[in-house]
Amino acid sequence: MSFAFRAIYWREMVKFFRFKSVLFSSLIQPVMWLAFFGVAMSKSFDKITAMLPPIAGVPTVDYLSYMGAGIIAMDVLFASLFGGTTLLFDKKYSLLKETLASPISRVNIVVGFGLSGITKAFIQTGIIIVFGRLIGMTFFKGYDPIQTLIAVVGIFLLVGIFTLGFLFLSGAIAITVEQPEGMQSILTLLSMPLFFVSNALYPVDSFPDILKFLSIFNPLTLLANGIRYFALGDNFSVMGGHYVYTTGDIIMSFGGLILFGLTTLSIVLWRFNKVDI
């Protein structure tokens, strides 16, 4: 067992904390989503919700909390989807050559890279949860400390698996394309349907059938569902819609994301073994 992946991880983290502007914007962006989009939308959605009759015996969740889970999902989606870009620049400026010429295995490179992505995602997730609670997001309402701990671990686990999945995908694209512009356009093309054909920001109940069907397989939906299950409970209503998460749903979230991660892992390892320097 080699621990050389720590070298890759170390370098990624040094650079993450070095570029203050990138660091600052990546940390402040989710907060801004919550503060502006979240607060504004929740005010109007909650107005509509107030006009609907509450479902008897089911706790009503405000839109901000519903959306908070989606903001976490969206934020880690973009961070990980664009996370592979550093690999592209490493390749472009021949930096990758040094690493690839060393005895370190390709698996170790991918592992170190993945761990750095997870770390960044965890920091962002933590910030959203803490800041969200400050502005009135009701995550973990009525939980005792043990339940809260389990919920937090559950959320971070899902976020970690999800991040790896998209980071590997992004890394595979980065190692394959030649130009940053090419990468940019592929990522934009990918992120659009991922983002909107999901229940990250709004319920999918009133989607056309085909989109509703597709959204079930969207990793972003799987993650948002999982986070809501852990943060808001397995039975709540939001904007008149009734949400019930069964054990099957949460297994589907974990299973689906793990499957997605394994698929992209095999793609990135395949691309890495093909890379010519």
Binding site: A7, W10, K15, S94, K97, E98
Partner: protein, 329 residues
Amino acid sequence: MTENVIEVNNLEHKYGDLKAVDNISFTVRKGEIFSFLGPNGAGKSTVINILTTLRKIQKGEAKVNGYDVAKESKAVRKSIGIVFQMMCLDYEMTVTENLEYHGRIYSMTKEERKKRINELIKLTDLESKRNVLVKDLSGGMKRRLELARGLMTRPAVLFLDEPTVGFDIQTRLRMWEYLRSIKKQGTTIFLTTHYMEEADQLSDRISIIDHGKIITTGTGSELKNQIGKDIIYLETNDNKAAASVLKTLESVKGVNEDTEFLRVLIGVDATHILPKIMDMMRQNGVEIISVNIKKPSMDDVFVHYTGHGLREGGTDEKQNEGETAEALT
């Protein structure tokens, strides 16, 4: 007995139909500086890439530090240091961080890394730049840092691919000094260059490589002696007649008529034989327009063995000859 750090037998490499390396065999002895001298596109980088396991070997056999590059690539990688042709440092990290990263990907322990970084920063005179971002270093300093990085793991052999390309003469001279002191510390160096002077000044042995083939190998002075002691450049009104006269002389080792100058390779001191040559020309009715005597340089060696001059690009022979002739006037 001298130990061979690199052994290459019948190495061949093709890119599609193009034979970049054509049946090359050579050895590099422990502790020496060995150079591949040749124009760009001669196959030098391909050989380096194969020896450093960056490119898969297609045909032939190569051993580095006793390890087979095809079967024991990991052991080979641990035995070598590389300074690539293209600068590849992380510009957004400091001098020590670049070295630190290198030590880490080679799994050096923390103490080893610290000790080695201090030694190398001293060796390459980068002490005042320890915590400076690489993007703020001069070109020469960056190259020295790459040199330091290549030595981080105390490699048995250091590969340098065109180490001073694009540098001014002062920077180049300084780089040579560093390479000599590295050699003194016992590191074997394999370098490729298309600078004659670099090969001549630095190397214990030189292989001249052209069109994927090794044309000749020897020490700088061996190679130069092979083509004679002196070279006389003669410009006459009838080069053909002059050449046939010269060829009768015992001390003339060769006459090259490729350019407007006759290039006469002389086995003895040219200052003694020149009066005789002048006499003979006069007797045969050949009028001498100009004369020039030169000690053979690596340039001449290269022209002698390859039939063309050494230029960046190096494929257009006609043009090269023209330029060589110009350089002589």
